[in-house]
């Protein structure tokens, strides 16, 4: 299974070293991230899992280059991250697609440097990949929530980044659409082999998707545990191993799985 346990065999894509983050608001300082250390291998699918507001999105934004950490460094491909870069594209929780552009124009947004033929070729490819054929000239306001999210993934993939950073991308979708989207994302990941960092507060989502799940504590966020999910895709959600790993994380977070 090259898809799982990739970190030791392949090259390191991301190195997070002693990252700390302090937010200052109205003169009050809040420690958001405390001493985070993490390595992600190339082509690996890693989920950052933690309760809402714990700082996992902050960590993602630091890796993306939107925020500078108060202490420590993030390296991507050996280089220290100093700002946003088209080689690592963020897919936002919601409304990241540009509502003033059509589906085609959104996907082509990052392709201004290409000549027209090549651009159109790529647009067509990714329109097909995310299942938006027939909607090329629609505006996002005419699309459903799931379609908008697929559109944003397509726009990210079109610039051929090394890495996708997804910030609770399916959080606003209904549960059925969410399941479909997870399957779609895995299919795309298996086709394109990008490194994926995926922020979620949904334990099931993390165990269904990731090679490794990074379990984070409530604020200030520290890494509690890193769980390797050694189940090949497609994953059987009722297999004993799946349930064992899932329950282990539930207990780690301090929740019994009874409602």
């Amino acid at each position: 299974m090259e898809s799982s346990v990739a970190a030791s065999a392949t090259r390191i894509a991301v190195q997070v070293e002693d990252v700390g983050m302090i937010f200052t608001r109205d003169g009050k300082q809040t420690l958001v991230l405390d001493n985070i250390n993490l390595e992600v291998g190339e082509g690996e699918f890693v989920c950052l899992l933690g309760p809402s507001g714990c700082g996992k999105s902050t960590l993602l934004n630091i890796m993306a280059g939107f925020l500078s950490p108060t202490s420590g460094t993030v390296r991507v491909g050996g280089e220290v991250v100093q700002g946003p870069d088209p080689r690592r594209i963020v897919v936002f929780q919601e409304r990241g697609v540009f509502p003033w552009l059509t589906v085609e124009e959104n996907i082509g947004f990052g392709l201004a440097a290409l000549d027209r033929k090549e651009r159109q070729h790529r647009i067509n490819h990714y329109v097909g990949m995310v299942g938006l054929k027939g909607f090329e000239n629609s505006y996002p306001s005419d699309l459903s929530g799931g379609m908008k999210q697929r559109l944003e993934v397509a726009r990210a993939l079109a610039v051929n980044p090394d890495m996708l950073l997804l910030d609770e991308p399916f959080g606003a979708l209904d549960s059925i659409t969410r399941l479909t989207m997870r399957r779609e994302l895995l299919r795309i990941w298996e086709a394109e082999r990008k490194t994926i960092l995926f922020v979620t507060h949904d334990i099931d989502e993390a165990v269904q998707l990731a090679d490794r799940v990074v379990v984070m504590s409530a604020r200030p966020a520290t890494i509690q545990q890193i769980v390797t999910i050694d189940i090949p895709h497609p994953r059987d959600l009722s297999s004993p191993r799946y349930l064992e790993l899932r329950d282990g994380i539930f207990q780690q977070i301090g929740l019994a799985h009874h409602v």
């Binding site: 993306a64 939107f66 700002g83 946003p84 870069d85 088209p86 594209i89 963020v90 936002f92 409304r95 990241g96 540009f98 509502p99 003033w100 552009l101 059509t102 947004f109 990052g110 505006y139 996002p140 306001s141 610039v159």
Partner: protein, 262 residues
């Protein structure tokens, strides 16, 4: 049962016709009132129609309408071209805003009409003065609209744009401007209304043609109040048409998103 109309009680009037019907009723009442109390207070609607016919016969109506629209086009157009990009840049760069805000806030509440003496001093009596006044009246509202619009652009669009490696100039052209367009259209609508108010006032003093001049001239040259009210009606109708014109921008598909979402 209270929602159902009683059969045969009223003739059904189509919804679109009702405001026109109301207008017609008011005009008839106006005419009746004038005929019962003839005097100098106000011409009746029939007299106003005669006034408009008079103006058309002398070729003045078209000439004055064109003169007024010419001034508004230039004054408003120049204000749009300058105020929108400038306002976006000022709104985006916090330091520019902090430096310029006091000046803007002092100049903004001065009515453009207060500038009339200075306009005449600088540009004399003529088109330039009127255009200058309309420009002033449009510039500050548009500047503030653009400043607010750019500040209101959701961070997620800006971050997405930066993520794709946009340089500052591209960020303005490809993200901030299109994201601000719905707000800008609202600002354009309000400001065009202001410009149309200002042109009438400016023409009463600073020029010798246009609809504002028509109103003052009709009074001064023989108390032709039928022409005064005719001028007012024409001003109202053209104002309405201008607003319709700019509202049609709201229907452009790539502008319409903010109206259809949430």
């Amino acid at each position: 049962m209270s929602f159902e109309e009683k059969p045969g009680a009223v003739i059904k009037v189509p919804v679109w016709l009702r405001p026109w019907l109301l207008l017609a009723v008011l005009l008839v009442l106006w005419q009746i009132a004038i005929q019962r109390h003839p005097g100098q207070l106000l011409p009746g609607p029939w007299g106003v129609v005669g006034g408009i016919a008079d103006l058309l016969r002398h070729g003045l109506l078209l000439k004055y309408v064109v003169a007024s629209l010419f001034r508004v086009t230039w004054g408003f157009g120049l204000a749009v071209i300058l105020a929108v990009p400038l306002g976006m840049v000022i709104g985006w760069y916090t330091r520019a805003e902090m430096a310029l805000n006091p000046i803007i806030q002092i100049l903004r509440p001065i009515s453009p009409l207060a500038w009339i003496p200075i306009a005449i001093l600088w540009f004399g009596v003529g088109d330039l003065s009127a255009i200058f006044l309309i420009f002033l009246g449009s510039f500050f509202p548009l500047l503030l609209t653009a400043m607010n619009a750019v500040r209101g652009v959701p961070a997620v669009y800006v971050n997405a744009g930066r993520n794709f490696g946009l340089r500052p100039i591209d960020l303005f052209v490809r993200i901030l401007y299109p994201a601000a367009v719905p707000q800008l259209i609202i600002g354009l609508r309000i400001t065009l209304g202001i410009a149309w108010l200002v042109v009438v006032a400016a023409e009463m003093i600073a020029v010798n043609s246009g609809l504002g001049f028509l109103i003052v001239d009709a009074r001064n040259a023989g108390n032709r109040y039928d022409l005064v009210v005719a001028g007012m009606v024409i001003i109202g109708l053209i104002g309405l048409l201008l607003d319709w014109g700019i509202r049609s921008l709201e229907r452009v598909k790539s502008f319409r998103w903010s109206y259809s979402e949430e």
